[in-house]
């Protein structure tokens, strides 16, 4: 009796799984999961937005002042403590403090923060400001104020040369 019941339950789970799994991302969606970007045209102090997996990715060429400011923040002040150094390291463990590459999606409820375009408000901490619910990020993309719980997410990226970065 128990064995039959157990086997039956396995059968039900095995039948249910394809239906659930069916809703996961399809192969063509997954295939678009890496992009390559040439960063040479981005001048110091400028930023660009590229689209990756349907989301905006911010690539900011930071100024000396912005890097200094980001490195000087004491960990105790951060809701989600993370060193600036860690946020500018690529998958080959090489640190490039001038390049900050993050997913431009607010970790609160998924809006695109302002601050990447010239003329955008950058918020109180000189980084990014989310217009939806008022989260402010610093020059390292770390959350400083507002409802967002986490820093802006750093995707896996690798500088294949000094000018070319592969995201994903």
């Amino acid at each position: 009796m128990v064995a039959t019941g157990a086997l039956g339950a396995v059968g039900v789970a095995a039948v249910a799984w394809p239906f659930i799994n069916n809703l996961n991302p399809a192969a063509d969606t997954l295939a678009l999961s890496t992009i390559e970007v040439n960063v040479t045209p981005i001048a110091v102090g400028q930023a660009v937005t590229v689209k990756w997996r349907g989301k905006p990715v911010f690539i900011r060429h930071r100024t000396e002042a912005e890097i200094k400011e980001a490195e000087a923040v004491p960990m105790a002040e951060l809701p989600d403590p993370e060193t600036d150094n860690k946020r500018v390291t690529d998958t080959a463990k090489k640190v490039r403090p001038e390049w900050l590459i993050m997913i431009g999606v607010c970790t609160h409820l998924g809006c695109v923060p302002l601050g990447n375009k010239p003329g955008d408000t950058k918020g109180e901490y000189g980084g990014w400001f989310c217009p939806c619910h008022g989260s402010s990020y610093d020059t390292s993309g770390r959350i400083r104020k507002g409802p967002a719980p986490k820093n802006l997410v750093i995707p896996d990226y690798l500088f294949t040369s000094d000018s070319l970065v592969r995201i994903g």
């Binding site: 937005t49 998924g110 695109v112 939806c132």
Partner: protein, 411 residues
Amino acid sequence: MASSHGTPPVFNNKVIAWVDHRLPIFSYIEKEYHTFPTPRNFNYFWNFGAIATVMLVLMIATGIVLATNYTPHVLMAFDAVERIDRDVPQGWLIRDLHMNGASFFFIAVYIHIFRGMYYGSYKAPRELLWILGVVIFLLMMATAFMGYVLPWGQMSFWGATVITNLFSAIPVVGESIVTWLWGGFAVDNPTLNRFFALHYLLPFIIVAVVALHVVALHIHGSNNPTGIDPKGPQDTVPFHPYYTMKDGFGVVCFLIVFSVFVFFAPDYMGHPDNYIPANPLVTPAHIVPEWYFLPFYAILRAIPDKLGGVLAMFGAIAVLFILPWLDTSRVRSCTFRPIYKWFMMFLVVDVIVLGICGSKPPEGFWVPLSQFATLYYFAHFLVLLPILGKIERPLPLPPSIADSVLKKKAV
């Protein structure tokens, strides 16, 4: 034809009698919608169940017709909806009915819920009836949310993004759940396509739950403004023609107000940004959901913590499930509860304040106000309701429904 309830009906028409002998649908209609004994003292608040039913049928009918001309694809959805408006014969009418119908369905249901709360319709023995109602409300919210995504305007897209992201607040598995909901790494074509499929499916599930809601209602019959049970035939009238006619009148009055919006202000309830095609790289300056979600949206934003906000928002609805057990009062109707009556009215004010907060940007004065209103909302259910039932002294109840009706007539 049977003239009073209790005796099984006799059908003179041979065909009806033949069918009824094999499948008693005519007996059922006779019993549940004709002779069904209904308290004689309903006020016009009791119309809103019938009105909500009419709106549900209208939504399904217009929805099916719209679906025949709609295309659930990110590149085509916006234009498909505009084509319905412009080129499909009377497409504008069907679309305006559906678009405003959603709002008016919620208006009817919100009044229906208020009536249930004010007159204690959720109290024993109608707890399951009430819970089924809350299930319908939840299904309506899910359906309305997914329907709002289909025109694929800016508010469609960003509303979908914000609401699906709520699930990312769940620890550990949240991100995987969101990816699974989207069928990708952002709200995109797979999301639109599945939302369309579910938006078409859910209304029929609502119909099924409404059927259960009515079955449960007809076990113990309707509550009434006095909250006391009918004691005999002098307290009730047959459902038809008394309440069929009264409901019919109420439905027509409601449809008049509805028509004013459909024909003279079809976009009043909507947001102009939804006439801008969805753009994943541009967030609107200020994302607001449809008006019927605003109180819950305000609760979400009132809590500065992400998971806390999500829990509070769902908690605001979850608390309705246990409402029958939070109310400790012996009497049902607020008519005989001199103190709670005012708290009930204040809850309505509180929900409206929350709605206004939900429509404002989360800054300045609106933040503490929405926090206070959220706190009051939960305090109403979790503190005031259990305590008041114990300490409040209800007014004397009338001996019977007939008595209360006759007394009012004398005044």
